[in-house]
Symmetry: C2
Subunit: 324 residues, 2 copies
Amino acid sequence: MARVAVTDGIDENAADKLRGLGHEVVIGHHDLDSLENGSLSNFDIVVIRSATKLGTKAINVNSSGSGSLSMIIRAGVGVDNIDIDAATSCGVRVCNTPGASTNAVVELTIGLLLSSVRNVARSDRRMRCGEWAKKEMRGSELRGKRLGLIGYGRIARGVANIGRNMGMEIHAFDPYIDQELVDDYCTLHEDVDSLFRTCTHISVHCFLSPETRNLVNSRRVSLMPKIGADGIECGNHIVNCARGGIVHEEEILQSLVAGELSTAALDVFDVEPATGNDLLDFDRFTSTPHIGAATMEAQSRIGDEIISIVSSFESGNIPDSALN
Amino acid sequence: MARVAVTDGIDENAADKLRGLGHEVVIGHHDLDSLENGSLSNFDIVVIRSATKLGTKAINVNSSGSGSLSMIIRAGVGVDNIDIDAATSCGVRVCNTPGASTNAVVELTIGLLLSSVRNVARSDRRMRCGEWAKKEMRGSELRGKRLGLIGYGRIARGVANIGRNMGMEIHAFDPYIDQELVDDYCTLHEDVDSLFRTCTHISVHCFLSPETRNLVNSRRVSLMPKIGADGIECGNHIVNCARGGIVHEEEILQSLVAGELSTAALDVFDVEPATGNDLLDFDRFTSTPHIGAATMEAQSRIGDEIISIVSSFESGNIPDSALN
C-alpha cells in the first residue's frame, strides 16, 4: 500500500481506483515553500502535472533523511519542471505517461489546420456580429497540399497518417529519428530550410530546446511556396500544438501582416497564460489555451497509466516509462 | 463558338479558358425582371449559381421564339432554383457540376466536428477577450466514437473514409442508397431513429425534401446515447453542411440549452443569410456562412467541369451531368 500525493489534479476514476486498490490518495496543491519544507516527506509517490516545480531542494528534503518520497509521476509528457539529475542522485524514480495524450494532440492539430484554412473561428466570430461574410470566407483544401512536420515522433506520425489519408503529401524534418520509424510515404528532409521551401502547411511536433527555440521565424516563412502541390495558390499556414517558444511570435505576426503567412494557429505560447499577446488581435490567427492533451480520453488514459506505474512500484518493478 | 452568360460569377481562369477557346463570355448579374423580359435570349448558355432563379417564365421567354437559350449550367450541385420541367419542355438542357465540391464539403464537415468537440471557436473567442479558460475547454476525441451519417452519398462517403481512418465507427441511414456503394465498414440502419439511438456524433448529408425537413429535432436528439463506443461520456454532437431546414433550429437550441446536445455546428440555415438567428448567441454553437463549397479548389474544378460541358454542347454530345 502506497501513500500517494496528487498535487495538480487527477482523473476522478483513477483516484477512486487507486483507493480501491488500498492506496492512500491525498489530493491538494503544495506551494514551493511547503515543498521545500518537506510537505511530501510522508508520501511514497507524488503525482504532478506542469504546475508543481520539483527542483533540487524540494526533491532532497522530501526524499532524504526521514523523507520517504521515492517516486515522481508526471501525469503527461513534459518533465521540464522536474530536476531529474537531483532525483537520480536521491534514488527517486521519475516516470511520465508519454503515450496517453498522443491522439488528443493529433486530433487538435488536424482541427486547427482545418479551422485555419476554412476560416472556422473567423466565420463564427463574424456570424455572431451579425455579418454573413460568405465571400470573404473562401478557403482552401488540405488535399493536394504538402504538409511539413517539424519532428517525426508519435504525434507527428499520427498527424501524418490522417493527413495522408486526406490526400496530403507528407514531409518531415527530424535529425534524431530512427529511420525504421519513418513511414514510406514520408519524405525526410536533411535541413529545416528545405522543409519550409517545400511545404505550404507546417506543423510543429518537437521539444523546446536551444536548438528549436524560434525555429519557426519570418525568414523561414518567407521560403514557403504559397502554392500547393496541386498548383492551387493556397497561401502558407503554420500550426503549433507542441511547445511555446519554437514559433517566434513577433516575427510570425509580422509575416501575417505582410501576407507571407495566410494563417497561423497556436495552442502553446512562449509566455502562458498568453493573455494580452499581440497575435490575438489578428483576424486570421486562431488560438486555444494549451488544450492539446485536454480531452476526457487522454485524462482517462493518463489515469490508467498512473495506476499501472503505482502497481509496478508496489511490486518493485521498473515501469516502462521510467526516465532515470 | 457559344455565347455564354455568367450571372453569379465564375472562376477567373475558367472564364479566360473559355474565351481562349473562342467562346463569348459575358459576366454580370441579371435580375428577375430582366430575365423575364428576355435578357438571356441572345445567349446559347447561361452559367448560374444559387442567386439566379430560373422559373417557367424566364426559361420560356429566353428559349422560345427568337430566344436562343438552350443550356443552363448550374455551377454547383443544388438545382432548387431551376424549373427543370419547364426547361425540358422548352428543349433547354440543364447540367450541374456534382463532383466538384465534394472534397470541400467533406473537409469542412471534419473541421466542424473537430472544432466542436475541441472548442476551437469557443477557445479563440475567449482568448480574444483576454481569458485563458484552459479548464473550461476540456473536450473529447473523435476516435472511439460512433459517427452517424444521414445520407450516404459522395460527401458522406468521403467523411466516412476520413472518420474511419481517425478511429470512428461508421453508421449511416440512407433508404435510397445502392447497396454496392455501402463500404463494408459502414453499418446501415433501416430507420433514422436507430441511427440517433446509436451515435453520439451525427452529420447531415442528404437533400432537403418534405421527408427530410426537420429530420434532426429535439425528440431524435433525446435518443442519442451521450456515451461513446469507448465508454467515454463525450456528449452528443450535430453537424450540418448539407441544406438548411433539415435541422430544426429552434428545437436544436432547446436541446443545447437543456444539455441533451453538447455542441452543434451549422454551415447552412433554414433562412439565409442567417443573421439574427437565435442559435448565434449560444456558446457551444459554431457556424459558418454556407461555405461548404467555398474553396479555391472547388471553384477551379467547377470551372473545369463548365469548360467540359460547354465543349460537349459545341460538339452536340450530352454531358455526363445532364439532368434532363
